[in-house]
């Protein structure tokens, strides 16, 4: 008797798991817009810091540990500001500031 009960229990568990997985799959495919996080550019808009080759504190936020420029898809900087940023980082490198 006991064995039979156990087997039924296992079956039930399995069926539950399958249902959960299917739910997850649905979520990942039809993800609503709420869960996509879209950050705004931190360097544009009102009160944003000035991008300049002398402003090293700001520039150091946007380079990796090896001194490479971080891509805009990670930092969510707008295209226009990314161009300005990379230019000012290159200028700071030339002066051996970074």
């Amino acid at each position: 008797m006991k064995r039979q009960e156990r087997s039924t229990m296992v079956k039930k568990r399995n069926s539950n798991k399958k249902n959960k997985q299917s739910n997850f799959a649905k979520l990942s495919i039809f993800q609503p817009n709420k869960y996509k996080f879209k950050k705004n550019c931190p360097l544009s808009g009102k009160g944003a810091p000035i991008v300049d080759y002398k402003n090293i504190k700001l520039l150091k936020k946007y380079i990796s540990e090896n001194g490479k420029i971080l891509p805009s898809r990670i930092t969510s900087i707008s295209q226009k500001k990314q161009r300005l940023l990379s230019l000012s980082i290159r200028r700071a490198r030339n002066l051996a500031l970074i």
Binding site: I50, D52, K54, K57, R93, N94, L95, A96, L97
Partner: protein, 118 residues
Amino acid sequence: MNLYEHTIIAKQDVSPSQIKQLIEKYSKIVEKLDGDILKTENWGLLNLSYIINKNKKGNYIHFKIKGKNKIVSELEKNEKIDKNLLKYMTIKVKEFDLTTNYFSIKEKDEAPRKKYNG
């Protein structure tokens, strides 16, 4: 008339009196060619991020110049020969930001670090 930002890096073992002479020397060149120096900033001795000609530190001097492009070529011609300098850079800008000085604050932050270095 254009606006230029001009920075010089002098060697680490240049004395403060020599730096004053350097500032005078290059500001005279600018004045000769009818240019105006709106501001000179002495950023002091800063750590270089990479070694330049066996120098680990450098004295930074920063000029904000208003004038013709002849000044830049004349300045760079003299700076190429100068043995006290490591590097120079000129950048043409549309507007000057005369209010903020990024390096006066930084010197205070770095003062305690120098003690640890000995």
